[in-house]
Point group: C2
Chain length 282, copies 2
Amino acid sequence: MRENRIRIGVVAPGSRIEPLLAERVGDVARALYGERAPELVFHPQCFLASGHFAGDDAARAEAFLDVANDADFDALWFARGGYGSGRIAARVLPELDDAAARKTYLGYSDTGALLAGMYTRGFSNLAHGPMPADLTREGGHEAIKRALSYLVDRAAATLEATISGTSPTIAFNITILSHLIGTPLQPDLAGHILMLEEVSEYMYRIDRSLLHITSNPGIRKVAGIKLGRCSAIPPNDPDFGQTEEEVMKHWCAASGIAYLGRADIGHDIGNKIVPFGHFRPQ
Amino acid sequence: MRENRIRIGVVAPGSRIEPLLAERVGDVARALYGERAPELVFHPQCFLASGHFAGDDAARAEAFLDVANDADFDALWFARGGYGSGRIAARVLPELDDAAARKTYLGYSDTGALLAGMYTRGFSNLAHGPMPADLTREGGHEAIKRALSYLVDRAAATLEATISGTSPTIAFNITILSHLIGTPLQPDLAGHILMLEEVSEYMYRIDRSLLHITSNPGIRKVAGIKLGRCSAIPPNDPDFGQTEEEVMKHWCAASGIAYLGRADIGHDIGNKIVPFGHFRPQ
């Protein structure tokens, strides 16, 4: 840490963000922290466009490695989800060095593919939590404030409230975890409390993904599952007839996994921080 | 076979169909075959409704077993896809008996979850091809005619044209196969030509599912992949920038799987028959 200010590098392995958003996030950080404000460095790659993505695979991979392998950055903050992390995972993971392993990483949604891959490689400072793009939500400064409080001060108040320190924890978007099952990116979650959340998926798809996840022998070794918020679920035709919690309980019972109740995470401004593994205070 | 007529039992492990559709499929069979027309028995379960499904899990599982384990049926024809096969797979597969193993099964889309599970258990008369619900498509009687020609006469003309008999084949909907990866339903596809098709999925989701499928070590043992039709792809925002064949070629190259060109299958009336394993003439 330089002069009591941390340096945070921001990259976008999935969808792009607007330069104005980067400026606004910097404004929030300065308003909150004044002279202690972290130095936020948005990699120019965040603003590239290549079809669906914030630049092509090569550009996104290079930007991720630029920040991850640079010892002058204390943290890598994912700018936004969307889709694209998984596309570059096989390319970037073997290139990560010691500086990358010491760094803090924060993101959720699509970025779960890279977080999972780093977790399988033993990285110990990975967390599921808000990203710069959350500032575009109504009241989004609360999410940014929480993320910065975690990145700057590792404040325990930012954590999902049920995190006790006894069991390791991990959190994923349901669809993203489903797409990691049976791949080299699927982490060993034995003994973990697994928290899951979803957004903008039909109930029949949530059900199908939870069937998939809970059918995997590795996943069945978790200590239990906690269900985060499933928001913006489109109307099912015909009505699905079961809520997301009924579905989650059903698949936990069918698979012999303990259902541990709700988790305070989701695609919203209330999204609390969930460390991958154990919480490590500064 | 009784009096030169085969008996086909129809069940709906996913979404329901209307009784009128069952009558129309029977009409088509009688028009095509006259006195040789197969006896089509639509299980009453096909017409049940329970939320998203054609009856609850117990009803759908029981109907499937009623037909599968009844030696008086020569074939089990899946009525329709939708979603629901995977939900009952763990319940029904252990209950299948010798009569079930001798039977012919035909379906595609969601029914791939049950077909895959039966293939892992060594069933040898499974095929990917049209279902009764295809009659609702424009020109749908062509699909019904093809399915019946396969079920009644095992006509080689119904097969996907590139099926040579040298390599075993198999076909799946992309999203359905993605949800089988890493579960006990994932079949051993070593040496198989794997044909894949999709409908009504965004390009970014097709890309994500193909990344998932081709990242699995078991899938990488296939002899190669052939891409069927990907239809009714909703507009991507922003434009994805790559076609489904470009994406398929990309993931084949990245995973070391041979890309073998297009397959004549899809969610349409042109959907040709793909036997699971080797084609067995009558």
